[in-house]
Subunit: 117 residues, 2 copies
DNA sequence: CGATAATGATACGGACCCGTAACGATCGGG
DNA sequence: CCCGATCGTTACGGGTCCGTATCATTATCG
């Protein structure tokens, strides 16, 4: 069930999708931000700042700042955990889900457009 | 010859590769920089600032700054065009080629690791 | 209670990036 | 030969990000 892809195909796919992201005027997310966003939307909740920092291997302020930025963009929301008020639970949004879905479709479409080799 | 991939697979692939990039302490390139780098290494030379700006749909200073950064990282080099000294020719480097190759292998490997669904 | 630990947010100095606008260098046509 | 067009770069003001260190808030445990 493994997905077979050749190195040259992988590079052309990577390039084309990034070109599309730049072209579409989407938010120019860094690799870190992309990893954070997709982790929130693919892994099981709840998500906390500390948990994300551990998974990414970065410091907590990195997560806090990324959440600030994505919050402004409407991609995620934060809410205080009522059972342990030290924690903050990161929540998904409709806009964020749509953005993730759009990325998925983009990758699928560009993969389909790939020629052999 | 199209590459078949499902949306959920695309997202998991995208997330895992970005996680790897962050983890490996690679340069945290933005989407724009990634598009520029891969364009230089996949499209036929010669590459100029103006040409890259057109392909990316961004302004020239964006390209200049990206080349500054990637130059410091050793991923690309610039050389004056001797036949039209207004032009600058962007050249590949061994380090850049290795980085691109590493990215390709990373995508291929993570695609192979994908389960069904 | 009070002390300790843990969480997320904030301050700081330094670096990078953005778009607009201006710049010097170079080419090319009249 | 000169003047306009074109090239890449730089200056500017504003924004974001980094890592380290510190902070206030909250929980836990003696």
């Amino acid at each position: 069930m493994a997905l077979e892809i050749r190195p040259s195909q992988a590079l052309r796919l990577w390039r084309q999708v990034h070109l599309d992201l730049v072209h579409d005027g989407q938010a120019d997310l860094s690799a870190r931000q992309t990893a954070i966003l997709l982790t929130i939307y693919l892994e099981l909740p709840p998500h906390t700042v500390r948990g994300l920092a551990q998974q990414l291997g970065v410091t907590k302020p990195v997560i806090t700042r990324a959440l600030d930025t994505m919050g402004k963009l409407g991609l995620v929301t934060r809410r205080r955990d009522e059972f342990d008020r030290r924690n903050v639970v990161i929540q998904r949004t409709v806009a964020g889900a749509l953005a993730v879905e759009r990325l998925a479709d983009l990758v699928v479409q560009r993969a389909r457009d790939l020629g052999p080799g």
